[in-house]
Every structure is written in C-alpha cells, then in structure tokens.
C-alpha cells in the first residue's frame, strides 16, 4: 500500500477513533464490536483503548440496542450503533423509523438525535438471499433521516466523522465489498459538505448517476466507453437523503442523457426517485428517456453465476450506455 493510502475499513476505524478521542460522549455499540473488534474490523482496537462502557458488545437484540442508542442520544450521548449487516436492521426499523427519525419532530423540536447507525450491506459473495439486501429505498422514504453512502476511504473518513458530529439521526450504508478496497486518505484535507455529490469523471455524452459500490463499476464502464469514443460523466451521489440534485442537473445540462446505476432492485428503488425527480426538473433538457441499470426483481441466489447476473456488471453498464449514445453523432 502506498503511503497516504488505506483500506475502507481502516478509514472508518480511524474516523471512529478520532471522534472518540475528541468527544467523551461518543460511544460505539453493537454485536461483537468490542472484544472481537467488529465483523469487518471497523471497531478494531477501540475496546482496549476506550473500555467497555464506550465500546459495548451487545446481545443479539437489534431492536432494543438500536433503541438504546436512541435513548442515549436523547440525553446527549453520541452513539454509533453498528448493525452487523443491514439484513438485521429490519429488526431495528422501529427504532430507526418510528423513534430516531420522529422524536425530534414530534417533541416539537425539543430533543436532539445525534445518532449514527452504521450498516454493512449490499450483495457480497454468495451470502444468499437473507444476507444480500439493499434496503436504501426503505430508509429513503423516511423524513427526518439522513443517509450517507460513502464509496471510498476518503469519503468513509469524512462522512462518518461528519455523521457523528451532527445532531440529526444518520444512517451510514457501507458496502460489504468495499471494506477491503483501498484508496487514498488525506486526514487533513478539508471535507466537502456531507451530502454533496461528486463528479468522479467528467464527460460530455451522458451522465451516469450512481452511488456506493456501483461507483467503481461505473468508472470502469466509463473507461471502456471512452475507448468507443463515448465520454461518460460519472456522479457519485455520496448521499441518498438528501440528494444533491444541483450537481446532477448541471451535468445533464451538458450531456442531455441520464443513466442511473444501482445495485438495488429496479422497482421502486433508489433509481426510481432519482429518475423521477430529474425527469421532472430536466424534462426539456433530456434528449431521450432516462434509463436505469439495476438489480433484477429477484431475491439474490446463492449460486455464484446467478448472483453475479442479478446485479449490474460493467458490461451491462457499457451496453446500455452505448445504446443510449448510439445516435450521438446525429444530434445538432
């Protein structure tokens, strides 16, 4: 690893450590986050450094330990709850949706909710249907929640620290296949606003809007498209609530073509919201109907070939983007 580079999980680990040093109210809790160090090593070393009251191994009680985080946040702690995988978060949705997202509002603005809920998720390697979910669409529809989807070590470092410092409830969706990916990390670089999208690659022919692990696939696809003379602009949203529409709209003003790439299954997924809003706001800017490359309408199969075929691949993105740009030479 080059100097200045680190793995995604290490960036999260350093972010937690930095915030725990800075603020004694920051606590971490979840299954195996303490002595064991976290299923994806994100909390490694923290238990020894901060002790069991600040790094708490919990029983397997997602609903109640997430709710515990809510209660602790009400009185000023800054809990970072780790839900071992997003699949288990279904058991904690009452705490996240009914409690964390609503208490500040329904108390008439009396209470802060400095709660962070971290969840690894996405389709990893043959974990089968119950461990291969993308639930971002479930959380996106909840006013009062914020959702960060860091795709790089640098964003993981920035966005987790920003989430911990915020007084609003924030879900951080981490992709299981990103944890051991590496990338540059500058701990002293100034962070952009937490929910601002990033143009990862400039291009004039079409705009690919994506997030999380699909950022990497979209960038690879863009390189292949470039070989065919198609320049794709790739936007990593970095956040799913709120969404930085202005960055997308600026890009569409240049490219006039929209492709959304998401691992989530297509129907009523994150891409549905992205396409709907951008179609509403850029209808006359677009040269053609927006397209989505998304997961199939299937639970994820255990079989490796079927699993791979159930989610977007670089070649699918290239094929759809290529088809969208087929007539680009004909345009005035």
């Amino acid at each position: 690893m080059k100097s200045g580079e680190c793995l995604y999980w290490q960036a999260l680990n350093r972010a937690l450590d930095a915030e725990m040093v800075a603020d004694g109210d920051v606590i971490v809790l979840g299954e195996d986050v303490g002595l064991y160090g976290g299923s994806y090593r994100v909390t490694e070393g923290l238990y020894a450094k901060y002790g069991e009251w600040r790094v708490r191994d919990t029983p397997i009680s997602e609903g109640s330990f997430t709710g515990l985080g809510v209660g602790a946040a009400l009185v000023g702690l800054r809990p970072v709850v780790e839900i071992m995988t997003i699949n288990f978060a279904l058991l904690a949705l009452d705490a996240i949706i009914n409690m964390a997202a609503k208490i500040p509002f329904m108390s008439g603005g009396q209470f802060p909710m400095p709660l962070v809920v971290r969840m690894p998720g996405g389709v990893a390697r043959q974990l089968a249907a119950q461990h291969s979910q993308r639930l971002e669409q479930t959380l996106m529809n909840v006013p009062g929640l914020r959702i960060a989807v860091p795709a790089t070590p640098q964003d993981a470092w920035w966005q987790l620290r920003q989430a911990i410092r915020s007084d609003e409830p924030i879900v951080v969706l981490e992709h299981e296949l990103l944890y051991f990916g590496k990338g540059p990390l500058d701990e002293h670089a100034e962070a952009p606003p937490m929910h601002r999208a990033r143009v990862c690659r400039p291009g004039d022919d079409l705009t690919i809007v994506t997030y999380s692990r699909m950022r990497d696939l979209s960038l690879q696809a863009a390189e292949q498209l470039a070989e065919k003379g198609i320049e794709a602009e790739v936007i990593d949203l970095r956040s799913l609530r709120p969404i930085d529409w202005d960055t997308c709209i600026r890009s569409l003003g240049k490219t006039h073509r929209l492709l959304v790439v998401e691992e989530d299954s297509c129907f009523a997924g994150a891409g549905a919201e992205i396409v709907a809003t951008l179609a509403e706001r850029c209808f006359f800017t677009l040269d053609q109907a927006p397209r989505r490359v998304a997961g199939r309408e299937l639970p994820i199969a255990y079989n490796a070939r079927l699993e791979a075929a159930s989610i977007p691949s670089v070649s699918t993105i290239v094929a759809v983007a290529g088809a969208m740009c087929e007539n680009k030479g004909d345009l005035p």
Binding site: I27, W53, R54, T58, P59, S61, G63, S64, F65, T66, G67, L68, G69, V70, G71, A72, A73, L74, V75, G76, L77, P79, D94, A95, N98, M99, I103, P104, F105, M106, S107, G108, G109, Q110, F111, P112, M113, P114, P143, G144, R146, S166, D167, E168, P193, M194, H195, R196, S239, P242, D244, D246
Partner: protein, 347 residues
C-alpha cells in the same frame, strides 16, 4: 406525610377531572385522533411519580396525560397539545400520545407498544456511563410484555445494572384481550426473575402502597444496585380509547372495580393498610384516599370541597389556555423537523 397525602389526593382528583374533561372536548371535536384516558389508574401514576426526584427521567406510553400532569407539565400545555395547538408541550406536533417536556425530563409518550423499554435503557446507559445518581422510570402496560423489546431490554438492563425502574400498569387488557388470553404467565412481575431482577406485585388501586413501593425501589435503583420491576394491578374504567366502548369486558367485572368493592382488599390487608369500612366498600381509590385522609384528621370535608374547586378551576383554565392557543403553521412543522440542523451545511 399528610402534606404528601394531600398532594397525591389533589393530583388524583386533577387527573380524574382533566381526563373526563378531555373526553368531553373530544366529543365536542376539539380533540382528534386517538385519545386514551386514565380514569381508574390514577393511583399508579400519582404514587410512582410522587416518589420521583426532579433529576429522574420519565418514559411513558400513549396513555400518559396524567403522567405528564403529575410530573409538573402545566395542565394548559397538556390540554393545548391535545388540542394540537402551538402552546402544547410538543408544539402541536405530537398530540395526545406524544407529550414531551425536556425541562421536566419527561422523555415522551410512545405510541408503539414496547418502545418505552429501549428508550429507557438508553437514557439509563448514559446515566450509568456518567455515574450519576439518577433513575429512569419506564411505564408500560400488561400488553407490552409480549413484545421482544421487553425481554431484550430487561436483559440488557440487568446485564449492565442500568438504573431503570420498570413500572407495569397492569390493567388486565391489551385493548380488548384479557391478560389470561394474551399471556401464558399472567403475573407480569414473575417474568423479571428470568433476568434476576427484583420485582414485586403491588395493589395499584392503593396510592400509598404504590408510593411506598416506588420510593423503596427507586432508592435501590439510584444507588446503582441495578434495575427493578414493579407490577401495579389496576383497572381502566373506560374503554381502551375514545373509539372503544369496552363492551368486551363483563359488566360484573367493571362494576366490581367501580362500585361493589375491591377484589384487591386481600392484598391491601397483607400490606397492613387499615382502611375504614366505608372505604373498603368502595373500589374507587380516590374515594378511599379521601376517606383515609378524613379519618386521620388531615383533611376536613371543607378542605376536600375546596380541593375539588381548585381542581375544577385548574381544568377550566387549561381548556381556556388550549382554546386560545394559536394553530401551528407549516413553518413550525419544518422547524421542528430541522431543529437539530444547527448551522450545518448539507450540500
């Protein structure tokens, strides 16, 4: 002690009058949504909360108007919240089931059964981490004990010795299903032994017994000796909510609580309470307390009458305050949602 007894009697009278008035206002259309009323259960909320210190935290259910009142939330702010007005204790955003008062550490009414447990252990976790001599009082009903959060949270509370007093208001019904039809073990306090948690069952119609048990338990909890559970057997004289006539309950059972005498007299005798015969005839715990106070010479008939006048006046003023309070506007709702944004730039 007599001052405390008088205060508790006054709060019970206020609770009854406030709730009966809320029912009228609901019928008039001034209160909407779900309205869950407390008559019959006053001894529990009043007895428990008079044992609470200002530094303790209260986490409550959707039947929480009286908990808020006894905690000291101004009656006008509670009634205005029922009216959905800006002057309500939650600014009109919460309503009957979501009363909050940060200043009085009234940490909210929660309308999903079983939510009070994790909220309470979370607050208690912060208290334990900070090593403060405070307690969390967690209210719940008999219907909540079959939610997973009950068992999950009791386990964590006991495991980490968190300062929580779990208070079960056992009114024997989860809406329309009687406890023997919803629970394999109908004695709620017995469930605590699975977590090695001290627990007792107390006559929830006897405010003195409620208060004494709560005071003892809270002293232990605040001292860092871990959580405790108290089960108070009580009864609601009304249906589950204003939308419920309660006609699934046998008439004779309702009568037994309201008029004919208290089936819990045995428990009271065991507790060593010496009530006058007239009070024992009555299942109405407010009447019972008034008789006790009268017999002991703490309160004259005139004193009781004056107390009732003061309570009626308080309720009338609360309604007037609510009616005069302005309606919140959409900007207030948006401000409530973004109350914690501070100066953060999101995009």
């Amino acid at each position: 002690m007599s001052d405390l007894l008088k205060k508790m009697l006054r709060d019970m009278l206020l609770a009854r009058a406030f709730e009966e008035r809320a029912a009228e206002e609901y019928t008039q259309g001034n209160i909407g949504g779900f309205l869950h009323l407390y008559p019959g259960e006053e001894a529990v909320g009043v007895g428990v909360l008079h044992a609470a210190e200002p530094a303790d935290y209260i986490v409550s259910t959707y039947r929480e108007h009286v908990h808020a009142l006894v905690r000291g939330v101004p009656p006008g702010a509670v009634m205005a919240e029922l009216f959905g007005r800006k002057g309500g204790c939650s600014g009109g955003m919460g309503g009957s089931m979501h009363l909050f008062d940060r200043e009085r550490r009234f940490m909210g009414g929660y309308a999903i059964v079983g939510e009070t447990f994790p909220v309470a252990i979370g607050i208690a976790y912060a208290i334990a981490l900070r090593e403060l001599p405070e307690a969390v009082i967690c209210f719940f009903g008999d219907g909540a004990v079959n939610q997973g959060t009950f068992h999950e949270s009791l386990n964590m509370a006991a495991l980490w010795k968190l300062p929580v007093l779990f208070v079960c208001e056992n009114n024997h019904y989860q809406i329309g299903t009687e406890i023997h039809r919803h629970s394999a073990v109908a004695e709620v306090y017995k469930r605590a032994c699975a977590y090695r948690m001290p627990a007792r069952r107390i006559d929830g119609m006897d405010v003195l017994a409620v208060h004494q048990a709560s005071r003892e338990a809270l002293a232990q909890v605040r001292a860092g000796n871990g959580p405790q559970l108290l089960e108070f057997e009580t009864y609601r004289f009304r249906g589950h909510s204003m939308a419920d006539s309660g006609n699934y309950r046998p008439r004779v059972e309702v009568r037994a609580y309201e008029d004919k005498g208290d089936p819990l007299d045995v428990a009271m005798a065991e507790a060593g309470m010496d009530y006058p015969a007239a009070a024992r005839q009555s299942g109405d715990h407010i009447g019972r307390l008034a008789e006790q106070l009268g017999r002991d010479g703490h309160l004259s008939a005139e004193g009781l009458a004056a107390m009732k006048v003061e309570v009626a006046d308080t309720v009338a003023k609360a309604v007037a305050f609510a009616a005069d309070s302005p309606q919140p506007v959409m900007a207030d709702a948006e401000a409530a949602l973004d109350c914690n944004r501070n100066r953060e730039v999101l995009i």
